[in-house]
């Protein structure tokens, strides 16, 4: 199959794959927790686009059987799968956002690098200095202060 024919036939898929990889890029490269969740939402929405593009039949209509005889219908199965996947995606986003709120309440920051650097009970970063007089806040994997 020569290249030009495939490109014209499947350019839909190529752009959808570009969108998927864009979403994945945001999830991996971004340091801000909220932006990671936005990237995840975009990554999942693009996968839904891929499924629906697979299910599309040229000249077909929505899979709702009208009375006026047999017309070509698009494939209903990908639609059902994506109905499930959309709600799963929103459930993941909602839980992620709840965690982000709690992390901000506990750590005072939602930047991955700052939060990971903090110990179990070290003080808060500059924004909210905690009242605990934690002198050394030694590294948990290091020596034992006792």
């Amino acid at each position: 199959m020569d290249l030009v024919a495939t490109i014209t036939a499947n350019w839909n898929y190529l752009i959808v794959i570009l969108l998927m990889m864009g979403g994945l890029f945001i999830v991996i490269s971004q340091n801000n927790m909220v932006k990671k969740l936005v990237g995840l939402a975009i990554f999942q929405t693009s996968v839904f686009l891929f499924y629906i593009t697979v299910g599309k039949v040229a000249g077909g209509t929505a899979p709702i059987l009208m009375s006026y005889g047999k017309a070509a219908y698009s494939n209903p199965l990908p639609h059902v799968l994506i109905l499930t996947a959309i709600v799963v995606g929103v459930a993941t986003t909602a839980l992620g956002l709840a965690l982000v709120l709690r992390i901000h309440a506990a750590f005072g920051s939602i930047e991955d690098d700052e939060v990971l650097a903090m110990k179990a009970d070290a003080g808060m970063p500059r924004s909210k200095r905690s009242r605990s007089s934690d002198p050394d806040g030694s590294d948990p994997d290091g020596g034992d202060p006792a």
């Binding site: 998927m20 994945l24 999830v27 927790m33 990671k36 969740l37 995840l40 990554f43 999942q44 996968v47 891929f50 499924y51 697979v54 199965l77 990908p78 799968l81 499930t84 996947a85 799963v88 459930a91 993941t92 839980l95 992620g96 965690l99 982000v100 709690r102 992390i103 506990a106 750590f107 939060v115 990971l116 903090m118 179990a120 009970d121 948990p140 994997d141 290091g142 034992d144 006792a146």
Partner: protein
């Protein structure tokens, strides 16, 4: 609801009993009553799984059509010697962990959240059981999400003890979601060229698909997603923090059964769905699964040696043990896959027991259990520590313990396939694992120079009885392994033996 209809619907009951009791548990404010619902849920699943294992003990297998729609149109549950064995192991460990949770969860989670915690507990058990039973590729994604989201809730509840549980939960959620989406991409490609979602139907249709790049890439993305969930080497980074900061009862539950379900799914994908294209799977086993497994074994063992927090140490050791199971499946011979199933059973009992013991220490010390805090506990908490030791000896594979049986069958399978170098690596790594166990044992019986951490209400029977159930199981599986070994062989014959 005649008995016959219960027997006929056993495959559905294993999954549905925990899942439908979860909303009821969420409504109950009293901790004791919510725990009772959890016990009924996990107990019901255990009884059903036990009866199922009995039903397929003669090597037969049958399919359960949900909604009485035949596959590939409807969704089916597949009950064969492999899935019944895995579900039985998981249901048994979940039941024992639920017994432990009675006193362990209320100590770490606020009284008013207990009902919801047990609800998430039941959802995790039901989700993982569904993951193993389902015979539909997309239904597997739904169960992946159920078990993932409920595990995130359980891990995040550890914030009552250590705020980093929230970050561990967040990372588990993001990496798990990316993994699940990779799996969905793989299923999408395979569906585009075969038109079916049912695993058995796919196994029949995949060989005669011409577009082999689509099959290769679809297979690659599906396996990549499952590798993330099974915490195999490069994508295991979420596991140590998740097990370390979760409440102790949750660590025991997840360590014992969570990754096992994904490892079973990996075996199903490799040996049933893509059995028709052996060159694709052989390539994946040869160049992906075995190297990653070995790398995982060594990273896990070495990191465990230098770890100071006991739960993180055990989590790294879990990464190594998962490496053994993945290696066993990587061998892909009947003996290899059987060794994998044997270690799925043994590791669940070993690691479940060790985490229950650490949970006992935690509840006695009432503070995070670092190695320094455990000095001299051997004398002050003898019952828990001996239980911990039995499981520890089983971990390093001392004869007469379950761990030895796993190592024996793994080495035997490696020799049969004359993978001598790999066999040597396995022996070296299990020798290394003696190092971190000895580090713990030495601390447990060390005379502490400074003032010991005070104990609050020594050893409660409710905490060490579940531990001893698993410790005895370790010894019993070591001395009389035939039931586990036989069912593992049947499972391997079914998956790989071409039955």
């Amino acid at each position: 609801m005649s008995i016959a209809s219960i027997i006929a619907n056993l495959p559905a009951l294993v999954v549905v009993i925990p899942l439908l009791l979860a909303p009821i548990a969420a409504l109950i404010p009293i901790s004791g009553a919510a725990w009772l619902v959890a016990v009924i849920g996990s107990g019901g699943a255990l009884v059903s799984a036990f009866l199922l294992q009995g039903a397929v003990s003669n090597g037969s297998s049958f399919s359960y059509h949900l909604g009485s729609w035949p596959p590939p149109w409807g969704i089916e549950f597949v009950v064969d010697s492999a899935s019944a064995l895995t579900v039985l192991i998981m249901a048994a460990l979940a039941f024992v962990a639920t017994l432990f949770a009675r006193k362990a969860l209320p100590a770490e989670i606020n009284e008013k959240d207990i009902g919801k915690a047990y609800s998430a507990w039941l959802l995790a058990c039901g989700g993982l059981a569904g993951l193993v039973m389902t015979g539909d590729a997309f239904n597997l994604f739904v169960f992946l999400e159920i078990s993932a989201l409920s595990s995130v809730i359980l891990i995040a509840l550890g914030a009552g003890t250590d705020r980093r549980a929230l970050v561990a939960g967040y990372n588990y959620l993001i990496i798990g979601a990316v993994g699940a989406t990779f799996y969905v991409i793989g299923v999408g490609f395979i569906y585009a060229v075969t038109g079916s979602l049912n695993m058995a139907d796919l196994a029949a249709r995949i060989p005669d698909v011409q577009q082999d790049t689509v099959i290769m890439v679809g297979f690659g993305f599906m396996v990549a997603g499952i590798l993330v969930k099974a915490a195999i080497f490069p994508v295991h980074i979420w596991l140590p923090a998740a097990y370390a900061y979760a409440p102790s009862a949750v660590s025991a539950l997840l360590a014992a059964i969570a990754t096992k379900a994904s490892l079973y799914v990996l075996a199903r994908i490799l040996f049933t769905m893509f059995a028709g294209v052996p060159d694709v799977t052989a390539l994946a086993l040869e160049w992906v699964l075995i190297p990653l497994a070995i790398a995982g074994i060594f990273t896990g063992t070495i990191l465990a040696i230098y770890e100071n927090d006991i739960k993180k140490l055990l989590a790294y050791s879990s990464v190594a043990q998962i490496g053994y199971i993945a290696l066993a499946f990587g061998i892909a011979s009947t003996a290899g896959v059987a060794a994998g199933f044997i270690h799925i059973g043994n590791h669940a009992v070993i690691k479940g027991g060790m985490f229950l013991a650490v949970g006992g220490y935690f509840l006695a010390l009432r503070s995070r259990v670092s190695l320094s805090a455990m000095t001299g506990l051997g004398r002050r908490m003898p019952i828990t520590t001996t239980g911990f030791l039995i499981c520890g000896l089983s971990l390093i594979g001392l004869p007469l313990t379950a761990g030895f049986i796993s190592k024996l069958y793994l080495v035997r399978a490696l020799i049969a396939e004359d993978m001598i170098i790999v066999m040597i690596l396995v022996l070296v790594s299990s020798a290394l694992s003696v190092a971190y166990l000895w580090k713990i044992v030495e601390i447990l019986w060390q005379r502490p120079e400074g003032e010991e951490a005070p104990l609050h209400g020594g050893e409660a029977p409710a905490l060490y009885i579940p531990l001893w159930i698993l410790a005895i199981a370790n010894l019993w599986l070591g001395v009389a392994p035939t039931p586990l070994v036989d069912s593992a062989n049947r499972a391997a014959m079914h998956l790989v033996g071409g039955l």
